[in-house]
Symmetry: D2
Subunit: 144 residues, 4 copies
Amino acid sequence: VDEFRFSTRVKVRFSETDAQGVAHHAAYLDWLEVARVEYLAQFPGGYQGLRDKGIEATTIEAHVRYRAPARFDDELVLRARCGDVRGARFRFDYLIERGGEAIADGWTTHACVDAATLRPTRMPDWLKDELERAESSSAESTLS
Amino acid sequence: VDEFRFSTRVKVRFSETDAQGVAHHAAYLDWLEVARVEYLAQFPGGYQGLRDKGIEATTIEAHVRYRAPARFDDELVLRARCGDVRGARFRFDYLIERGGEAIADGWTTHACVDAATLRPTRMPDWLKDELERAESSSAESTLS
Amino acid sequence: VDEFRFSTRVKVRFSETDAQGVAHHAAYLDWLEVARVEYLAQFPGGYQGLRDKGIEATTIEAHVRYRAPARFDDELVLRARCGDVRGARFRFDYLIERGGEAIADGWTTHACVDAATLRPTRMPDWLKDELERAESSSAESTLS
Amino acid sequence: VDEFRFSTRVKVRFSETDAQGVAHHAAYLDWLEVARVEYLAQFPGGYQGLRDKGIEATTIEAHVRYRAPARFDDELVLRARCGDVRGARFRFDYLIERGGEAIADGWTTHACVDAATLRPTRMPDWLKDELERAESSSAESTLS
């Protein structure tokens, strides 16, 4: 947890539950995406800024480990960090907590692609620099 | 029911259920869309054909009446008909059945828009003609 | 707008967009549900309190009018009011705004049902009283 | 591919696309679930049979690798196999194809749990036996 400088929150929606009475396992991918978007919103322009420059970030791989069920109306803390930038690729790690308990963790890998051609394109230097600064900084920037 | 010449089928997915143990009410809008897409697939090109011509169909209004809950793994018959074409606008009516019982009905209205500008544009004559032929025909074209 | 004392907010998620580049029309039903849940959270127990008492609120009818597209990352204000309580039934009205512009409106009707039997059951008096107080009060309780 | 005896199909729904113009990465988890449900439907009772016996299958881990984007209206073949049954736990492997091209693969692990307590419970012998027979059989049972 110490390694996660960034966090944001979601509340489990009723539409995200399933007939087992808990949050459906696919909803977690939506939450991880919310965390990525909010993470990138720390930087000038954010994710929409990337898109405005004709760059999309596609998801290459996704992994989630479900430790304890999330339930309707639970308030969840989504911790995220970005790193491992190599050319077009980068990786996010996540921890999902409820009341201090880790209920899920996961990671996703992504590639920057040209929005028009969907071909891989290097992450812009400004974003790479911002990411490195955000993750290496000793300053606290957690929102939780 | 006699007035619906077209029908298609969906099976309720587990991801579409909610913590009440029944299909979530928003899933019905996805099913109505499945019905529209399959309906338009009767015609050369289908919905993707419209999109390839730079035309999108946006949803202007949606109405659903839920009569009896749908449950996981239920096979549903989606009946649909299109009509009321006026310039850019058109309307779909729907009936959702399970084992012969009507469990929901609804309607949606749509507008053809230019995909680039999102401005309203008349429905192409070929589609209007096809729709009228499909709905006025005495021939049976139901798939159910 | 003056008639809506309650409001809450959502941000359009990327997972809620579709290939037209705007929020998918079914996502609005999820947002209206978020608004209902937050609305009921004004009262002791909230929606979960109802569920804990063995009462579920099912959706009987839903209607949405889409006036202007919502886009990724848009912050939306969801205005809601509840009324028209008759036995087991009640109704919510909604207005969705972005930057002061009304981009959608709608209404839903619901019935209180026994969670075990799914049979209609009168809305509990405490909730009916709370609703009437909330909607008739001259006090401002908007969150926006 | 040779190792997958089972397959089923889905068509990409418009509601499953996102503003990148392709299927959203969370939709794949819904499809894998459709494949699991159809896979289990090969056996008497199927997934609902498990649920009727008071057993739920929870998802413990999910992993997806996205190789090529899926698009609206694409017909996808979902190949699945189940194995690695150990006490309460089991694993599914998947391959998603479009026109013979592998566009994604993944795996999920699950645990049988008592529906009332959500505590792990051994997979019923009848299901374990059926799974072993299905996967070891030299008979072709693919649906594709």
